[in-house]
Amino acid sequence: MKFIFRPFFLGLFVFWIFFPFLSIIIWSVAAGWRFPALLPEEYSLRGYEVSFDPNGDILRGVITSTGIALTVGVLATLIGSAAGRAIAMYSFKMKKSFQFLVLAPLIVPGLAVTMGIQILFIKYGLSDSIRGVILAHLIPTVPYVVMIMSGTFANFDRAYEEQGQVLGASRVTVMRKITLPIILPGLAVSFLFAFVISWSEYILTLLVGGAAVKTLPMVLFAFLRGSDLTLVGAASIVFMIPPLILLRFTSKHLVGRSSSVTGLGSV
Protein backbone atom coordinates (compact mmCIF):
# COMPACT_ATOMS: atom_id res chain seq x y z
CA MET A 1 0.00 0.00 0.00
CA LYS A 2 2.72 2.40 1.02
CA PHE A 3 4.59 1.78 -2.22
CA ILE A 4 1.61 2.79 -4.34
CA PHE A 5 0.72 5.91 -2.38
CA ARG A 6 3.48 8.25 -3.52
CA PRO A 7 3.62 7.32 -7.24
CA PHE A 8 -0.17 7.58 -7.36
CA PHE A 9 -0.29 11.16 -6.05
CA LEU A 10 2.74 12.29 -8.04
CA GLY A 11 1.18 10.77 -11.15
CA LEU A 12 -2.06 12.56 -10.42
CA PHE A 13 -0.13 15.82 -10.03
CA VAL A 14 1.64 15.37 -13.38
CA PHE A 15 -1.70 14.54 -15.02
CA TRP A 16 -3.30 17.63 -13.46
CA ILE A 17 -0.51 19.84 -14.83
CA PHE A 18 -0.69 18.55 -18.41
CA PHE A 19 -4.40 17.79 -18.81
CA PRO A 20 -5.59 21.37 -19.50
CA PHE A 21 -2.89 21.68 -22.19
CA LEU A 22 -4.40 18.65 -23.92
CA SER A 23 -7.71 20.40 -24.67
CA ILE A 24 -5.89 23.53 -25.85
CA ILE A 25 -3.62 21.55 -28.19
CA ILE A 26 -6.49 19.49 -29.65
CA TRP A 27 -8.69 22.55 -30.21
CA SER A 28 -5.82 24.40 -31.94
CA VAL A 29 -5.74 21.80 -34.75
CA ALA A 30 -9.45 20.87 -34.83
CA ALA A 31 -11.47 21.69 -37.92
CA GLY A 32 -14.69 20.68 -36.21
CA TRP A 33 -15.23 19.08 -32.85
CA ARG A 34 -18.90 18.58 -32.00
CA PHE A 35 -19.89 17.46 -28.53
CA PRO A 36 -20.05 13.72 -28.16
CA ALA A 37 -16.87 13.12 -30.17
CA LEU A 38 -13.83 12.28 -28.05
CA LEU A 39 -11.51 13.55 -30.79
CA PRO A 40 -12.14 16.02 -33.64
CA GLU A 41 -13.75 14.60 -36.79
CA GLU A 42 -11.41 16.66 -38.93
CA TYR A 43 -8.13 18.44 -38.41
CA SER A 44 -6.77 21.62 -39.98
CA LEU A 45 -3.98 24.13 -39.53
CA ARG A 46 -6.37 27.05 -40.00
CA GLY A 47 -5.71 28.32 -36.45
CA TYR A 48 -1.99 28.56 -37.11
CA GLU A 49 -2.46 30.05 -40.58
CA VAL A 50 -4.51 32.81 -38.98
CA SER A 51 -1.92 33.15 -36.19
CA PHE A 52 0.96 33.75 -38.60
CA ASP A 53 -0.96 35.96 -41.01
CA PRO A 54 1.29 39.06 -41.21
CA ASN A 55 -1.72 41.37 -41.08
CA GLY A 56 -3.59 39.35 -38.49
CA ASP A 57 -4.30 40.40 -34.92
CA ILE A 58 -2.29 37.56 -33.39
CA LEU A 59 1.04 38.24 -35.07
CA ARG A 60 0.70 41.98 -34.48
CA GLY A 61 -0.16 41.18 -30.86
CA VAL A 62 2.99 39.05 -30.61
CA ILE A 63 5.11 41.94 -31.90
CA THR A 64 3.53 44.52 -29.56
CA SER A 65 3.70 42.17 -26.57
CA THR A 66 7.33 41.22 -27.27
CA GLY A 67 8.39 44.85 -27.52
CA ILE A 68 6.64 45.81 -24.29
CA ALA A 69 7.72 42.73 -22.31
CA LEU A 70 11.38 43.03 -23.42
CA THR A 71 11.48 46.70 -22.43
CA VAL A 72 9.75 46.04 -19.11
CA GLY A 73 12.05 43.07 -18.47
CA VAL A 74 15.22 45.11 -19.03
CA LEU A 75 14.00 48.22 -17.17
CA ALA A 76 12.63 46.31 -14.17
CA THR A 77 15.79 44.18 -13.92
CA LEU A 78 18.04 47.27 -14.00
CA ILE A 79 15.93 49.27 -11.53
CA GLY A 80 15.15 46.41 -9.16
CA SER A 81 18.58 44.78 -8.98
CA ALA A 82 20.15 48.02 -7.75
CA ALA A 83 17.59 48.14 -4.93
CA GLY A 84 18.11 44.43 -4.26
CA ARG A 85 21.82 45.07 -3.74
CA ALA A 86 21.04 47.97 -1.38
CA ILE A 87 18.71 45.83 0.75
CA ALA A 88 21.06 42.84 0.95
CA MET A 89 24.39 44.60 1.41
CA TYR A 90 23.92 48.01 3.02
CA SER A 91 22.27 49.57 6.01
CA PHE A 92 20.61 52.89 5.44
CA LYS A 93 18.06 55.24 6.93
CA MET A 94 14.44 54.15 6.64
CA LYS A 95 15.46 50.74 5.29
CA LYS A 96 12.38 49.15 6.90
CA SER A 97 10.09 51.67 5.19
CA PHE A 98 11.83 51.03 1.89
CA GLN A 99 11.32 47.27 2.25
CA PHE A 100 7.66 47.92 3.04
CA LEU A 101 7.36 50.06 -0.09
CA VAL A 102 8.81 47.19 -2.14
CA LEU A 103 6.56 44.52 -0.62
CA ALA A 104 3.30 46.50 -0.81
CA PRO A 105 2.79 46.12 -4.60
CA LEU A 106 3.08 42.33 -4.23
CA ILE A 107 0.03 42.46 -1.97
CA VAL A 108 -2.12 45.35 -3.21
CA PRO A 109 -3.90 44.47 -6.49
CA GLY A 110 -2.51 46.25 -9.54
CA LEU A 111 -6.06 46.96 -10.73
CA ALA A 112 -6.80 49.09 -7.64
CA VAL A 113 -3.69 51.21 -8.06
CA THR A 114 -3.93 51.62 -11.83
CA MET A 115 -7.56 52.73 -11.61
CA GLY A 116 -6.38 55.48 -9.29
CA ILE A 117 -3.50 56.64 -11.44
CA GLN A 118 -5.29 56.54 -14.79
CA ILE A 119 -6.50 60.13 -14.35
CA LEU A 120 -2.86 61.30 -14.17
CA PHE A 121 -1.90 59.17 -17.17
CA ILE A 122 -4.65 60.83 -19.19
CA LYS A 123 -3.52 64.27 -18.04
CA TYR A 124 0.11 63.71 -19.04
CA GLY A 125 -0.66 62.02 -22.36
CA LEU A 126 0.51 58.56 -21.24
CA SER A 127 -2.85 56.93 -21.65
CA ASP A 128 -3.50 54.96 -24.88
CA SER A 129 0.26 54.75 -25.48
CA ILE A 130 2.88 52.02 -25.30
CA ARG A 131 5.02 54.23 -23.01
CA GLY A 132 2.14 54.39 -20.53
CA VAL A 133 1.64 50.62 -20.64
CA ILE A 134 5.37 50.04 -20.00
CA LEU A 135 5.26 52.40 -16.98
CA ALA A 136 2.17 50.63 -15.58
CA HIS A 137 3.85 47.23 -16.00
CA LEU A 138 6.76 48.40 -13.84
CA ILE A 139 4.44 48.43 -10.77
CA PRO A 140 4.07 44.63 -10.49
CA THR A 141 7.51 43.74 -11.93
CA VAL A 142 10.04 45.90 -10.04
CA PRO A 143 9.11 44.43 -6.60
CA TYR A 144 9.66 40.86 -7.86
CA VAL A 145 13.10 41.80 -9.19
CA VAL A 146 14.03 43.51 -5.90
CA MET A 147 13.04 40.39 -3.94
CA ILE A 148 14.89 37.99 -6.25
CA MET A 149 18.01 40.16 -6.41
CA SER A 150 18.15 40.80 -2.66
CA GLY A 151 18.24 37.00 -2.31
CA THR A 152 21.03 36.84 -4.88
CA PHE A 153 23.08 39.62 -3.27
CA ALA A 154 22.64 38.07 0.18
CA ASN A 155 24.89 35.25 -1.06
CA PHE A 156 27.32 37.67 -2.68
CA ASP A 157 30.59 38.36 -0.89
CA ARG A 158 31.69 41.95 -1.22
CA ALA A 159 35.31 40.89 -0.64
CA TYR A 160 35.50 39.62 -4.23
CA GLU A 161 34.86 43.14 -5.51
CA GLU A 162 37.27 44.64 -3.02
CA GLN A 163 40.04 42.30 -4.05
CA GLY A 164 39.54 43.41 -7.63
CA GLN A 165 39.82 47.02 -6.57
CA VAL A 166 42.89 46.32 -4.43
CA LEU A 167 44.52 44.72 -7.46
CA GLY A 168 43.91 47.91 -9.43
CA ALA A 169 40.85 47.13 -11.54
CA SER A 170 38.59 50.04 -12.46
CA ARG A 171 35.01 50.11 -11.23
CA VAL A 172 33.73 49.16 -14.66
CA THR A 173 36.12 46.21 -14.88
CA VAL A 174 35.12 45.04 -11.39
CA MET A 175 31.47 45.26 -12.40
CA ARG A 176 32.00 43.47 -15.70
CA LYS A 177 34.49 40.80 -14.68
CA ILE A 178 33.52 40.09 -11.06
CA THR A 179 30.04 41.26 -10.06
CA LEU A 180 28.08 40.49 -13.22
CA PRO A 181 29.23 36.87 -13.66
CA ILE A 182 28.36 36.10 -10.03
CA ILE A 183 24.88 37.63 -10.09
CA LEU A 184 24.03 36.48 -13.63
CA PRO A 185 21.69 33.62 -12.54
CA GLY A 186 19.72 36.08 -10.38
CA LEU A 187 19.52 38.56 -13.25
CA ALA A 188 18.28 35.83 -15.58
CA VAL A 189 15.52 34.76 -13.19
CA SER A 190 14.58 38.41 -12.57
CA PHE A 191 14.29 39.01 -16.29
CA LEU A 192 12.20 35.83 -16.67
CA PHE A 193 9.74 36.95 -13.99
CA ALA A 194 9.51 40.55 -15.23
CA PHE A 195 9.10 39.45 -18.87
CA VAL A 196 6.45 36.86 -18.01
CA ILE A 197 4.45 39.18 -15.73
CA SER A 198 4.43 41.90 -18.41
CA TRP A 199 3.72 39.38 -21.19
CA SER A 200 0.70 37.98 -19.30
CA GLU A 201 -0.70 41.26 -18.02
CA TYR A 202 -4.23 41.99 -19.20
CA ILE A 203 -6.09 44.41 -16.96
CA LEU A 204 -3.33 47.04 -16.54
CA THR A 205 -2.81 47.08 -20.31
CA LEU A 206 -6.54 47.45 -20.89
CA LEU A 207 -6.84 50.33 -18.39
CA VAL A 208 -3.84 52.29 -19.64
CA GLY A 209 -3.59 51.21 -23.27
CA GLY A 210 -7.30 51.17 -24.02
CA ALA A 211 -8.01 50.09 -27.57
CA ALA A 212 -4.76 51.61 -28.83
CA VAL A 213 -2.31 49.04 -27.45
CA LYS A 214 -3.33 45.55 -28.55
CA THR A 215 -1.13 43.05 -26.77
CA LEU A 216 -1.59 39.29 -27.10
CA PRO A 217 -3.80 38.93 -23.98
CA MET A 218 -6.22 41.48 -25.48
CA VAL A 219 -6.38 39.46 -28.70
CA LEU A 220 -6.99 36.19 -26.82
CA PHE A 221 -9.73 37.84 -24.75
CA ALA A 222 -11.43 39.02 -27.93
CA PHE A 223 -11.32 35.43 -29.31
CA LEU A 224 -12.69 34.07 -26.03
CA ARG A 225 -15.72 36.36 -26.39
CA GLY A 226 -16.32 34.86 -29.82
CA SER A 227 -17.08 31.23 -30.51
CA ASP A 228 -14.14 30.14 -32.68
CA LEU A 229 -12.39 27.76 -30.30
CA THR A 230 -9.84 26.74 -32.96
CA LEU A 231 -8.52 30.31 -32.92
CA VAL A 232 -8.63 30.35 -29.10
CA GLY A 233 -6.51 27.17 -29.04
CA ALA A 234 -3.97 28.38 -31.59
CA ALA A 235 -3.65 31.83 -29.98
CA SER A 236 -3.15 30.19 -26.57
CA ILE A 237 -0.33 28.04 -27.96
CA VAL A 238 1.34 31.06 -29.59
CA PHE A 239 0.86 32.94 -26.30
CA MET A 240 2.68 30.40 -24.15
CA ILE A 241 5.63 29.51 -26.38
CA PRO A 242 7.90 32.57 -25.73
CA PRO A 243 7.63 32.25 -21.89
CA LEU A 244 8.39 28.53 -22.17
CA ILE A 245 11.47 29.24 -24.31
CA LEU A 246 12.66 31.72 -21.66
CA LEU A 247 12.03 29.14 -18.94
CA ARG A 248 14.15 26.64 -20.87
CA PHE A 249 17.18 28.91 -20.45
CA THR A 250 16.58 29.90 -16.83
CA SER A 251 15.06 26.79 -15.28
CA LYS A 252 18.34 25.50 -13.88
CA HIS A 253 18.55 28.64 -11.73
CA LEU A 254 14.99 28.35 -10.41
CA VAL A 255 15.53 25.38 -8.12
CA GLY A 256 19.07 24.62 -7.18
CA ARG A 257 21.65 24.77 -4.48
CA SER A 258 21.97 28.52 -4.95
CA SER A 259 18.41 29.07 -6.07
CA SER A 260 17.42 32.56 -7.10
CA VAL A 261 13.84 32.12 -5.96
CA THR A 262 14.87 32.03 -2.30
CA GLY A 263 14.66 35.83 -2.37
CA LEU A 264 10.90 35.46 -2.80
CA GLY A 265 10.91 33.26 0.29
CA SER A 266 11.85 36.26 2.43
CA VAL A 267 8.79 38.32 1.57
Binding site: A82, L135, A159, V196, L220
Partner: protein
Amino acid sequence: MTEKSSQPLLRFPGRYGAKQGTVKSRNVIWLVLPTILVLVTLFVGGFLFGILQSVGYFSVIADKEQKIGFDAYLFAFQNETVRAGIILTFRVAFLSTILSTVIALAISLMISRTKRFQSTLISITQFNIPIPHVVAATGILLTFSQSGLVSRVTNHFGITDGPSDFPIVTNDPFGYGIIMSYLWKEIPFMCVLILSALRGPVTNLDETAKTLGASYGYRLRKVILPYIFPAILSGTIIVFAFSFGSYEVPYLLGEPYPSTVSVVAYQLYTDRDLANRPTAMALATITSVVIGILVYVYMKITQQEGRK
Protein backbone atom coordinates in the same frame (compact mmCIF):
# COMPACT_ATOMS: atom_id res chain seq x y z
CA MET B 1 20.59 32.36 6.01
CA THR B 2 23.48 32.47 3.64
CA GLU B 3 25.45 29.55 2.39
CA LYS B 4 29.02 30.30 1.46
CA SER B 5 30.58 27.75 -0.78
CA SER B 6 34.06 29.23 -0.61
CA GLN B 7 35.77 31.90 1.41
CA PRO B 8 37.62 34.74 -0.31
CA LEU B 9 41.39 34.51 -0.28
CA LEU B 10 41.99 37.77 1.53
CA ARG B 11 40.18 38.90 4.61
CA PHE B 12 41.00 42.12 6.35
CA PRO B 13 39.51 42.26 9.80
CA GLY B 14 37.54 45.37 10.67
CA ARG B 15 36.85 47.29 7.54
CA TYR B 16 36.69 44.36 5.16
CA GLY B 17 35.25 41.85 7.58
CA ALA B 18 32.07 43.84 8.07
CA LYS B 19 28.90 41.78 8.17
CA GLN B 20 26.65 41.80 5.11
CA GLY B 21 23.79 44.24 5.31
CA THR B 22 25.41 46.44 7.91
CA VAL B 23 27.78 48.48 5.78
CA LYS B 24 26.91 52.14 5.49
CA SER B 25 27.45 53.95 2.26
CA ARG B 26 26.50 57.35 1.00
CA ASN B 27 26.09 56.02 -2.51
CA VAL B 28 23.28 53.71 -1.48
CA ILE B 29 20.76 56.44 -2.38
CA TRP B 30 21.62 55.94 -6.07
CA LEU B 31 20.84 52.24 -5.73
CA VAL B 32 17.40 52.76 -4.21
CA LEU B 33 16.38 55.97 -5.98
CA PRO B 34 15.10 54.41 -9.25
CA THR B 35 12.89 51.96 -7.34
CA ILE B 36 11.63 54.73 -5.05
CA LEU B 37 10.81 56.93 -8.06
CA VAL B 38 8.88 54.17 -9.79
CA LEU B 39 7.00 52.90 -6.77
CA VAL B 40 6.25 56.24 -5.11
CA THR B 41 4.95 57.95 -8.24
CA LEU B 42 3.11 55.00 -9.76
CA PHE B 43 2.14 52.81 -6.80
CA VAL B 44 1.76 55.21 -3.85
CA GLY B 45 0.51 57.88 -6.24
CA GLY B 46 -2.09 55.54 -7.69
CA PHE B 47 -3.21 54.43 -4.25
CA LEU B 48 -3.57 58.02 -2.94
CA PHE B 49 -5.29 59.26 -6.10
CA GLY B 50 -7.68 56.34 -5.80
CA ILE B 51 -8.59 57.40 -2.25
CA LEU B 52 -8.96 61.04 -3.32
CA GLN B 53 -11.28 60.04 -6.16
CA SER B 54 -13.28 57.79 -3.85
CA VAL B 55 -14.15 60.73 -1.61
CA GLY B 56 -15.10 62.90 -4.55
CA TYR B 57 -12.01 64.78 -5.71
CA PHE B 58 -11.12 64.96 -9.44
CA SER B 59 -14.69 64.18 -10.37
CA VAL B 60 -15.09 63.35 -14.06
CA ILE B 61 -18.58 64.76 -14.08
CA ALA B 62 -18.64 68.39 -15.15
CA ASP B 63 -20.19 69.52 -11.90
CA LYS B 64 -19.29 72.88 -10.45
CA GLU B 65 -19.88 71.87 -6.88
CA GLN B 66 -17.85 68.85 -5.99
CA LYS B 67 -19.34 66.76 -3.24
CA ILE B 68 -16.63 65.64 -0.86
CA GLY B 69 -17.57 62.80 1.44
CA PHE B 70 -17.72 59.10 2.09
CA ASP B 71 -20.93 58.46 0.13
CA ALA B 72 -19.10 56.15 -2.28
CA TYR B 73 -18.18 53.82 0.60
CA LEU B 74 -21.82 53.67 1.69
CA PHE B 75 -22.93 52.97 -1.89
CA ALA B 76 -20.34 50.22 -2.14
CA PHE B 77 -21.68 48.39 0.88
CA GLN B 78 -25.33 48.93 -0.05
CA ASN B 79 -24.78 47.52 -3.53
CA GLU B 80 -26.17 43.98 -3.78
CA THR B 81 -23.64 42.97 -6.48
CA VAL B 82 -20.79 44.07 -4.24
CA ARG B 83 -22.11 42.12 -1.24
CA ALA B 84 -22.44 38.93 -3.23
CA GLY B 85 -18.99 39.62 -4.67
CA ILE B 86 -17.38 39.97 -1.25
CA ILE B 87 -18.57 36.50 -0.19
CA LEU B 88 -17.37 34.93 -3.44
CA THR B 89 -14.01 36.73 -3.24
CA PHE B 90 -13.30 35.57 0.31
CA ARG B 91 -14.34 31.99 -0.51
CA VAL B 92 -12.19 31.82 -3.63
CA ALA B 93 -9.15 33.44 -1.99
CA PHE B 94 -9.24 31.31 1.18
CA LEU B 95 -9.93 28.01 -0.58
CA SER B 96 -7.28 28.66 -3.27
CA THR B 97 -4.65 29.59 -0.68
CA ILE B 98 -5.33 26.75 1.76
CA LEU B 99 -5.66 24.05 -0.90
CA SER B 100 -2.63 25.14 -2.92
CA THR B 101 -0.49 25.34 0.24
CA VAL B 102 -1.47 21.91 1.57
CA ILE B 103 -1.22 20.18 -1.81
CA ALA B 104 2.05 21.90 -2.74
CA LEU B 105 3.59 20.96 0.61
CA ALA B 106 2.58 17.32 0.19
CA ILE B 107 3.80 17.19 -3.43
CA SER B 108 7.11 18.90 -2.59
CA LEU B 109 7.82 16.52 0.29
CA MET B 110 6.97 13.54 -1.93
CA ILE B 111 9.25 14.84 -4.68
CA SER B 112 12.09 15.41 -2.20
CA ARG B 113 11.73 11.77 -1.03
CA THR B 114 11.61 10.35 -4.54
CA LYS B 115 14.84 9.10 -6.03
CA ARG B 116 13.67 8.07 -9.50
CA PHE B 117 12.47 10.84 -11.85
CA GLN B 118 13.22 13.51 -9.23
CA SER B 119 14.74 16.02 -11.65
CA THR B 120 11.94 15.37 -14.17
CA LEU B 121 9.33 16.02 -11.48
CA ILE B 122 11.10 19.25 -10.48
CA SER B 123 11.04 20.39 -14.13
CA ILE B 124 7.32 19.60 -14.28
CA THR B 125 6.63 21.80 -11.24
CA GLN B 126 8.35 24.65 -13.08
CA PHE B 127 6.60 24.01 -16.35
CA ASN B 128 3.48 26.11 -15.90
CA ILE B 129 5.04 28.92 -13.82
CA PRO B 130 5.48 31.12 -16.94
CA ILE B 131 2.11 30.21 -18.50
CA PRO B 132 -0.14 33.31 -18.54
CA HIS B 133 -3.21 33.19 -16.28
CA VAL B 134 -5.42 33.85 -19.31
CA VAL B 135 -4.14 30.64 -20.92
CA ALA B 136 -4.62 28.75 -17.64
CA ALA B 137 -8.24 29.92 -17.49
CA THR B 138 -8.70 28.95 -21.16
CA GLY B 139 -7.34 25.46 -20.46
CA ILE B 140 -9.67 24.98 -17.48
CA LEU B 141 -12.61 26.26 -19.54
CA LEU B 142 -11.97 23.94 -22.50
CA THR B 143 -11.39 21.00 -20.15
CA PHE B 144 -14.10 21.31 -17.49
CA SER B 145 -16.99 23.14 -19.18
CA GLN B 146 -20.21 21.20 -19.83
CA SER B 147 -19.08 20.43 -23.38
CA GLY B 148 -15.39 20.22 -22.43
CA LEU B 149 -12.97 17.33 -22.68
CA VAL B 150 -13.85 15.77 -19.30
CA SER B 151 -17.55 15.91 -20.11
CA ARG B 152 -16.86 14.17 -23.46
CA VAL B 153 -14.95 11.42 -21.67
CA THR B 154 -17.63 10.84 -18.99
CA ASN B 155 -20.29 10.90 -21.73
CA HIS B 156 -18.34 8.36 -23.77
CA PHE B 157 -18.19 5.95 -20.83
CA GLY B 158 -21.83 6.51 -19.96
CA ILE B 159 -21.14 8.22 -16.63
CA THR B 160 -23.00 11.36 -17.72
CA ASP B 161 -25.74 11.73 -20.30
CA GLY B 162 -24.95 14.69 -22.55
CA PRO B 163 -23.52 18.14 -21.73
CA SER B 164 -26.42 19.24 -19.53
CA ASP B 165 -25.92 16.22 -17.27
CA PHE B 166 -22.31 17.24 -16.52
CA PRO B 167 -21.99 19.33 -13.32
CA ILE B 168 -21.51 23.07 -13.88
CA VAL B 169 -17.99 23.73 -12.58
CA THR B 170 -16.98 26.61 -14.86
CA ASN B 171 -18.81 29.94 -14.88
CA ASP B 172 -20.52 28.63 -11.76
CA PRO B 173 -21.87 30.60 -8.77
CA PHE B 174 -19.63 28.85 -6.22
CA GLY B 175 -16.35 29.65 -8.00
CA TYR B 176 -15.09 26.10 -8.67
CA GLY B 177 -13.68 27.11 -12.05
CA ILE B 178 -11.84 30.11 -10.62
CA ILE B 179 -10.40 28.00 -7.79
CA MET B 180 -9.30 25.24 -10.20
CA SER B 181 -7.52 27.77 -12.40
CA TYR B 182 -5.72 29.29 -9.39
CA LEU B 183 -4.77 25.83 -8.09
CA TRP B 184 -3.39 24.91 -11.49
CA LYS B 185 -1.09 27.94 -11.42
CA GLU B 186 -0.34 28.30 -7.70
CA ILE B 187 0.40 24.70 -6.64
CA PRO B 188 3.50 24.65 -8.89
CA PHE B 189 4.45 28.18 -7.74
CA MET B 190 4.36 27.07 -4.09
CA CYS B 191 6.21 23.86 -5.03
CA VAL B 192 9.07 25.87 -6.56
CA LEU B 193 9.34 28.01 -3.40
CA ILE B 194 9.21 24.99 -1.06
CA LEU B 195 11.52 22.81 -3.18
CA SER B 196 14.16 25.53 -3.38
CA ALA B 197 13.98 25.89 0.42
CA LEU B 198 14.23 22.10 0.78
CA ARG B 199 17.40 22.09 -1.29
CA GLY B 200 19.17 24.55 1.01
CA PRO B 201 21.32 23.78 4.07
CA VAL B 202 18.41 21.79 5.53
CA THR B 203 19.57 18.71 3.57
CA ASN B 204 22.71 18.53 5.76
CA LEU B 205 20.71 19.00 8.96
CA ASP B 206 18.25 16.33 7.89
CA GLU B 207 21.10 13.97 6.99
CA THR B 208 22.65 14.50 10.43
CA ALA B 209 19.34 13.87 12.20
CA LYS B 210 18.89 10.73 10.10
CA THR B 211 22.34 9.45 11.06
CA LEU B 212 21.45 10.05 14.70
CA GLY B 213 18.46 7.74 14.23
CA ALA B 214 15.54 10.20 14.02
CA SER B 215 12.45 8.90 12.21
CA TYR B 216 11.09 10.72 9.13
CA GLY B 217 8.05 11.93 11.07
CA TYR B 218 10.25 13.38 13.79
CA ARG B 219 12.65 15.01 11.31
CA LEU B 220 9.66 16.45 9.44
CA ARG B 221 8.32 18.12 12.55
CA LYS B 222 11.59 19.20 14.14
CA VAL B 223 13.94 19.87 11.23
CA ILE B 224 12.28 20.14 7.83
CA LEU B 225 9.02 22.00 8.51
CA PRO B 226 10.56 24.69 10.75
CA TYR B 227 13.19 25.27 8.08
CA ILE B 228 10.83 25.66 5.12
CA PHE B 229 8.24 27.56 7.19
CA PRO B 230 9.34 31.06 5.97
CA ALA B 231 9.07 29.97 2.32
CA ILE B 232 5.55 28.60 2.91
CA LEU B 233 4.61 31.82 4.71
CA SER B 234 5.71 34.08 1.85
CA GLY B 235 4.05 31.79 -0.67
CA THR B 236 0.70 31.86 1.11
CA ILE B 237 0.79 35.67 1.31
CA ILE B 238 1.55 36.08 -2.39
CA VAL B 239 -1.08 33.49 -3.41
CA PHE B 240 -3.75 34.94 -1.12
CA ALA B 241 -3.20 38.53 -2.23
CA PHE B 242 -3.18 37.46 -5.87
CA SER B 243 -6.29 35.29 -5.75
CA PHE B 244 -8.11 38.01 -3.80
CA GLY B 245 -7.45 40.85 -6.23
CA SER B 246 -6.90 39.31 -9.65
CA TYR B 247 -9.22 40.19 -12.52
CA GLU B 248 -8.63 37.96 -15.57
CA VAL B 249 -9.46 34.56 -14.08
CA PRO B 250 -12.74 35.47 -12.31
CA TYR B 251 -13.80 37.42 -15.40
CA LEU B 252 -13.30 34.40 -17.67
CA LEU B 253 -14.34 31.60 -15.31
CA GLY B 254 -16.88 33.37 -13.12
CA GLU B 255 -20.47 34.40 -13.61
CA PRO B 256 -21.76 37.93 -14.27
CA TYR B 257 -23.46 37.65 -10.87
CA PRO B 258 -22.05 37.03 -8.33
CA SER B 259 -18.64 38.17 -9.49
CA THR B 260 -15.49 38.87 -7.48
CA VAL B 261 -14.89 42.33 -6.06
CA SER B 262 -12.17 43.11 -8.62
CA VAL B 263 -14.53 42.35 -11.53
CA VAL B 264 -17.32 44.43 -9.95
CA ALA B 265 -14.88 47.31 -9.33
CA TYR B 266 -13.76 47.32 -12.96
CA GLN B 267 -17.36 47.15 -14.20
CA LEU B 268 -18.31 50.14 -12.02
CA TYR B 269 -15.21 52.01 -13.19
CA THR B 270 -16.02 51.57 -16.87
CA ASP B 271 -19.77 51.99 -16.40
CA ARG B 272 -21.49 54.48 -18.69
CA ASP B 273 -22.87 56.15 -15.58
CA LEU B 274 -19.83 58.16 -14.47
CA ALA B 275 -21.38 58.61 -11.03
CA ASN B 276 -20.25 55.03 -10.32
CA ARG B 277 -16.55 55.89 -10.56
CA PRO B 278 -16.11 56.99 -6.92
CA THR B 279 -17.79 53.72 -5.85
CA ALA B 280 -15.28 51.79 -7.98
CA MET B 281 -12.44 53.71 -6.31
CA ALA B 282 -13.95 53.04 -2.88
CA LEU B 283 -14.07 49.31 -3.67
CA ALA B 284 -10.45 49.35 -4.86
CA THR B 285 -9.38 51.12 -1.66
CA ILE B 286 -11.37 48.75 0.56
CA THR B 287 -9.88 45.72 -1.23
CA SER B 288 -6.32 46.99 -0.74
CA VAL B 289 -6.91 47.81 2.94
CA VAL B 290 -8.62 44.46 3.65
CA ILE B 291 -5.77 42.49 2.04
CA GLY B 292 -3.25 44.63 3.94
CA ILE B 293 -4.98 44.01 7.30
CA LEU B 294 -5.36 40.25 6.69
CA VAL B 295 -1.69 39.89 5.69
CA TYR B 296 -0.62 41.93 8.75
CA VAL B 297 -2.70 39.81 11.15
CA TYR B 298 -1.47 36.61 9.48
CA MET B 299 2.16 37.71 9.85
CA LYS B 300 1.64 38.60 13.53
CA ILE B 301 0.06 35.21 14.27
CA THR B 302 2.68 33.22 12.38
CA GLN B 303 5.52 35.19 14.01
CA GLN B 304 4.24 34.04 17.40
CA GLU B 305 3.96 30.50 16.09
CA GLY B 306 7.50 30.70 14.77
CA ARG B 307 8.83 31.70 18.19
CA LYS B 308 7.42 28.62 19.92
